[in-house]
């Protein structure tokens, strides 16, 4: 069996002076897997994503990303590790409004040499990588690339955000409620596009949402409430 992409072990996290917010005995995400994690707001979802991104450190237990224990890395190294291996898609307003669509997509390559190198290797150049990813996601109008990001519709913006998460082939794409601002039709179309692109790039997808209706589309679905022991007493 191959090495898991994410492996949490006996993870405990609490904000200073508060009761533990997260207690996750075990959690795994396999390479290439698309996982739906149901997490209503207030369930510690944001904190979990912060831990996976290496922004916060666990109090106890370990977080391994690609076999690397994040807790052993320094702040700067965690930041670098995050951008090298993870692409993010947020709820909405994912883009820097004052940059062009193309520049938004290329942002991770500006901060990560390895993603810039992989994008250039796979597509010839970073510009081409951005154009091809956008074209795959249905944004193939060349004029659109030069437009300001905030001149696009919400649906288009989320696709640009997906292209940004995927550029330079990170091993993991974390999507935090990326469809909550989309209507039902575009929602499913967006998720299918995301699946295709993640599969093409060989990336795992961790999709966090409170919308249970999307769960059947995924390989596997989990609820953060089930995973997290710390959450149970509060629900009861």
């Amino acid at each position: 069996m191959s090495q898991p992409l994410i492996e949490l072990h006996d993870l405990v996290f609490a904000w200073p002076g508060q009761a533990p917010l997260l207690e996750i005995p075990a959690f795994r995400l396999e390479p290439g897997e698309a996982l739906f994690l149901k997490g209503p707001s207030g369930s510690g979802k944001t904190t979990l994503l912060g831990l996976l991104g290496g922004v916060n450190r666990p109090g106890q237990g370990s977080i391994r990303l690609l076999g690397q224990d994040l807790a052993t890395l320094g702040q700067g190294a965690r930041d670098r590790f995050r951008v090298d291996h993870t692409g993010y898609i947020f709820q909405q307003f994912n883009l820097l409004p004052f940059l062009s669509v193309r520049e938004n997509v290329e942002l991770p390559c500006r901060f990560s040499k390895s993603r810039a190198a992989r994008a250039a290797q796979r597509h010839g150049s970073i510009d081409q990588a951005a154009a091809q990813l956008l074209a795959h996601l249905g944004l193939d109008d060349p004029a659109l690339l030069a437009r300001r990001a905030d001149s696009l519709s919400i649906g288009q913006q989320q696709r640009v955000a997906a292209a940004r998460a995927l550029i330079g082939q990170p091993e993991l794409v974390i999507a935090d409620e990326p469809t909550s601002a989309l209507d039902a039709d575009t929602r499913e179309a967006f998720i299918r596009l995301l699946f295709d692109e993640c599969r093409d790039a060989g990336a795992s997808l961790l999709f966090v949402s409170h919308d249970q209706s999307l769960a059947p589309l995924f390989d596997r679905h989990l609820s953060l409430a089930e995973l997290n022991r710390a959450a149970k007493p509060r629900e009861a």
Partner: protein, 421 residues
């Protein structure tokens, strides 16, 4: 490099605030530099009110007082000096030229100065410039001729051939006029930007003539009066003057002659070196000048605080921007750097615009200021001193930029990847 691109794009996105901020800095920089330039030029022009004169001699009083009435036409002499004292030194072999001056009368607020024709050939101002006639000629043999300074002619609309009456004393409104002996305008001097512009020049003989029938400070009445015609026929050699200026053959003799004059036994005299007295006078006014400088420094500080406020208030609404940047791999120091660059860009553009504004103002006002205040403001490249000031402003802006940078650094550490609305 990419951070700079991001900082500029982000600023461009908030261009209205950014422009206002840069404009405030530009105005303050322009003010500071303008004050600096006027200060420097005023000092230079003040120092060049009189040049080429080695000694000014008057009745014994204070050196600043002597300088004020003899050169700046401010205040009054405490006493006159005798004509033979003047002649004594005018004939001294070390003396190249001597200009007698006699003060005490006025015309509609402008001082009247009695002098000799040597005044027009030897008096120098600025960078050793001589007086020049704009119209007409210098006064000649007739005692009732007057040569006007440029400002007098312009303000009072006098032209050649006009007649004017001098008033006794130097008060703006004088009750006693020499209306029995009118003067004719024979010449108008070119503008000098010095007190010469505000002076009416008559001959010593003219000065003597209008006072010839005066006794103990009041005009004679009835039969005692002497008409202009009668006066012309009389001996108009003055017996006393107010002061005189000396040009020496050799500068080396200046100090020894000064000492000699100060120790002159026939009457108490005071000889001053104009340069030294000007320095003394300027140091008196230095406080006001420095106050102006300090005020403009505070205006610059206000401009920079405006920038600080603008950046700090933008921080909260830009937390999303920061979180997005963090998610694509920007480290906290990148975020801090972004804000420092932003402050730097604002300050630099403010300074550049301030310089532009300064030069535009100088180009526009140069002629007017020169004509009205005698100040020549050069359209020159900033001096080393001005560059230093600009560098200090930039340094202060960097220092201020580090405040929001530090806050953003803390904030981006705390917020991480969570997006705040």
């Amino acid at each position: 490099m990419y951070l700079l691109r991001l900082a500029l794009a982000s600023l461009a996105n908030r261009r209205f605030t950014a422009l206002l901020t840069a404009f405030a800095i530009a105005l303050s920089v322009c003010l500071l530099l303008a004050v600096e330039r006027v200060r420097t030029e005023a000092r230079a022009s003040f120092a060049s009110t009189i040049s080429g004169t080695d000694l000014i001699v008057g009745a014994r009083s204070g050196s600043v007082n002597l300088l004020l009435y003899s050169v700046f036409r401010i205040g009054n002499a405490t006493n006159n000096i005798r004509w033979d004292s003047y002649e004594h030194y005018a004939k001294d072999p070390r003396v190249k030229w001597a200009i007698p001056i006699s003060l005490g009368d006025s015309h509609r607020g402008y001082r009247v100065m009695g002098t000799s024709a040597d005044y027009f050939s030897h008096y120098q101002f600025g960078r050793r410039q001589h007086l020049a006639l704009d119209q007409g000629r210098a006064f000649a043999d007739d005692p009732f001729e007057v040569v006007l300074g440029a400002e007098v002619a312009e303000a009072l609309h006098y032209k050649l051939g006009d007649k004017l009456v001098l008033a006794h004393g130097v008060a703006a409104i004088s009750l006693v006029k020499h209306d029995d002996k009118p003067f004719t305008v024979v010449g108008v001097l070119e503008r000098t930007g010095t007190p010469v512009d505000r002076t009416l020049h008559i001959s010593l003989a003219g000065m003597e003539a209008i006072h010839i029938d005066w006794h103990n400070g009041v005009p004679a009445r009835g039969a005692g009066r002497i008409s202009a015609e009668q006066a012309r026929a009389m001996d108009l050699q003055p017996t006393a003057i107010t002061a005189f200026m000396l040009g020496l053959n050799s500068k080396i003799a200046t100090f020894s002659l000064q000492r000699e004059i100060n120790e002159y036994r026939a009457e108490p005299l005071l000889a001053i070196l104009p340069g030294v007295a000007l320095q003394e006078l300027w140091s008196l006014m230095g406080t006001a000048e420095q106050a102006l400088f300090v005020v403009s420094l505070f205006v610059v500080l206000t401009g920079l605080i405006g920038m600080l406020t603008a950046i700090l208030t933008s921080l909260n609404e830009r937390r999303r921007e920061m979180a997005i940047l963090r998610s694509v791999g920007a480290r906290p120091w990148h975020i801090a750097g972004l804000l420092v660059l932003e402050a730097l860009a604002l300050a630099l553009s403010g300074i550049a615009a301030g310089l532009g504004l300064l030069y535009a103002c100088i180009a526009l006002a140069q002629g007017y200021v020169q004509a009205n205040y005698g100040l020549y403001l050069p359209l020159a490249w900033p001096s080393a001193h001005e560059w230093t000031l600009l560098a200090i402003i930039l340094g202060a802006a960097l220092l201020m930029g580090s405040v929001p940078a530090w806050r953003a650094y803390r904030q981006s550490l705390a917020d991480g990847l969570s997006i705040h609305l």
